[in-house]
Amino acid sequence: MSETFLSIQGVRKSFGQTTVVKDFNLDVARGEFVSFLGPSGCGKTTMLRTVAGFEEPTAGRIMIGGKDVTQLKPNQRNIGMVFQAYALFPNLTVAQNIAFGLKVAGAPKAEIDRRVEEMLGIIKLAEYGSRYPYQLSGGQQQRVALARALAPKPKLLLLDEPLSALDAKVRISLREEIRAIQKKLDITTIFVTHDQEEALSMSDRIVVMYDGKAEQVGTPFEIYNRPATKFVANFVGTLNVLDGTVIDPATATVRINDRDVSLKKGALNGAKAGDVLSLALRPEAIVLGKQDGRDTSLGGQISDVSFLGSVIRVRVGLGKHAVSLDTFNSPASPPPVVGEQAEISFSSSDLLVLH
């Protein structure tokens, strides 16, 4: 990782007897886009608000650009922030909203005008400068909020679930837009979301949070393919969990539904013969029928078929387990039928042992 720009060191935040953030540590590089991902109540927004200065940490410190800002007020931190509810000032026009931070900072009028014009261009709302927030759609309002946050050239950009209030189509286009602008301006960004798809598609790194702690920090690829804990595996993506009984720890062999499967060496992590392990398998790692390169197959019965457009999700009962798998929709071949016998196959190397 290049030079650390934002450093969160041992931060704890308690409200009365309740500790919302527990010993949180994170270093973010300059220009990096990091997402805090987790369910409601996991502490991600509290952590973001602590970075912004709206909450004072009970313990720990926050450094921005090498400077300790823990005791600074929000208006002294040179941070830009976009809120879930837009938070545009209703009495100001779009241009006045964007100019707000610059005016407060006492920038000359000519510079303010130039910067507002530049920001309106970046968010592709050049013609909307004289409109009021209520005259814009949700997506447009959020773009204005982004421009307002970026106009004073902050050192750090904080995004607090900025896409949650938007409809699905706008959400996808806006997340691409936000990421493109962030890359163009090379601004260090913290993005809070509970939507795994947003986090996976936008981030350089993801911090998966649960119960006030960072469960795992990693790239989207690492988080999705190598979840460190059961929670991360379950929270990010769809996951099939199978029980496997350890048969031979030396060869990392486990038994799943009367079929012996050899896992990667060291995957058992010290488990003994007879131990029952939770083994995770992503739907896309499983195919219907036998296929070259997939060394393990199990027989079962199709229990459910869901048509999702380009993809068909098939659920196959395997004795006491059931797994979901995705197949591409092909107009030439009919979808599987519920009740049919089916064989599924996968690579044993795709099995993850959850700890």
Binding site: N75, F89, Y132
Partner: protein, 263 residues
């Protein structure tokens, strides 16, 4: 016509008659100063009376200062309660209701005892000091209306998020209140201001007992000694109050609109 609608209209008509008949009668009486014909003589006499002009000007100035005191006291208080101390709101609401429960005469006697020339805060020792005390007293009387108007205005905006958005963009408290909060509750503040104005213009007890040349005591004095002029003054007072209410209605059209409540 359905029976329920009939009764509704009947109730409305009775209420309107109860309100309008005395008003129309007062208006009609105020126009009968000249024997045998209607005229505006009573209004001419009243408006031409120097005491009317002086007392009305005095009460208008006092009302303006009272509004300033009310705004400076209520807007930051209501804002801070919404932002940081929502749990204390019931207590503050109770306090703001006290002027409706405690008679003005009790308040003013309290003032006279507390702020006499021998007290540490001798407001009553000078004329200007008495004026200031009168304004403070009026601000207290108008508190229930001003507080509710401002609090209702604050309820229509997301105070906390707007404050945080302004803070994170570098604004301090003065900027936040002056440039973000106040403009967004301006209509509510103006509503409170016009209600305050209407209260101050007609108030009698405090001005009379503090011996100030206000419009209320003048109204009482004219009413006790003249026939047609009090009726003309009552109509003028009504016109001022209704004028204030009309201005509130007109100004509310210019209220800043939010995305959630565009109309």
């Amino acid at each position: 016509m359905k029976a329920s609608r009939f009764w509704a209209w009947l109730t409305f008509a009775l209420g309107a008659a109860y309100f309008f008949i005395p008003l129309i009668a007062t208006l009609e009486f105020s126009l009968r100063m000249r024997r045998g014909e209607y005229s505006f003589d009573a209004y001419r006499v009243v408006l031409g009376d120097m005491r009317f002009q002086e007392t009305f000007a005095y009460s208008t100035i006092v009302a303006c200062f009272t509004i300033v005191i009310g705004v400076l006291l209520v807007v930051p208080t209501a804002y801070w309660i919404r932002l940081r101390m929502p749990w204390i709101r019931p207590v503050v609401e109770f306090i703001t209701l006290l002027p409706l429960i405690i008679p003005a005469i009790v308040i003013v006697f309290g003032y006279i005892r507390m702020y006499g020339s021998n007290s540490p805060l001798p407001f009553l020792a000078t004329t200007r000091g008495t004026d200031v005390l009168l304004m403070i007293g009026y601000a207290t009387l108008a508190l229930p209306y001003m507080y509710r108007a401002v609090d209702t205005g604050l309820r229509t905006i997301d105070v906390r998020t707007l404050t945080e958005a302004a803070q994170v963009h570098g604004a301090g408290w003065t900027t936040i209140i002056a440039r973000i909060i106040l403009p967004n509750v301006l209509i509510a503040v103006l509503s409170g201001a016009f209600l305050t104005f209407a209260i101050v213009i007609g108030e009698f007890t405090m001005a009379s007992l503090l011996n100030r040349p206000a419009f209320g005591p003048y109204l009482q004095n004219i009413g006790a000694n003249r026939a047609y002029e009090p009726a003309a003054l009552a109509v003028i007072a009504f016109a001022i109050t209704w004028g204030c209410m009309s201005v509130i209605q007109v100004l509310s059209r210019f209220a800043p609109k939010s995305a959630n409540n565009p109309n």
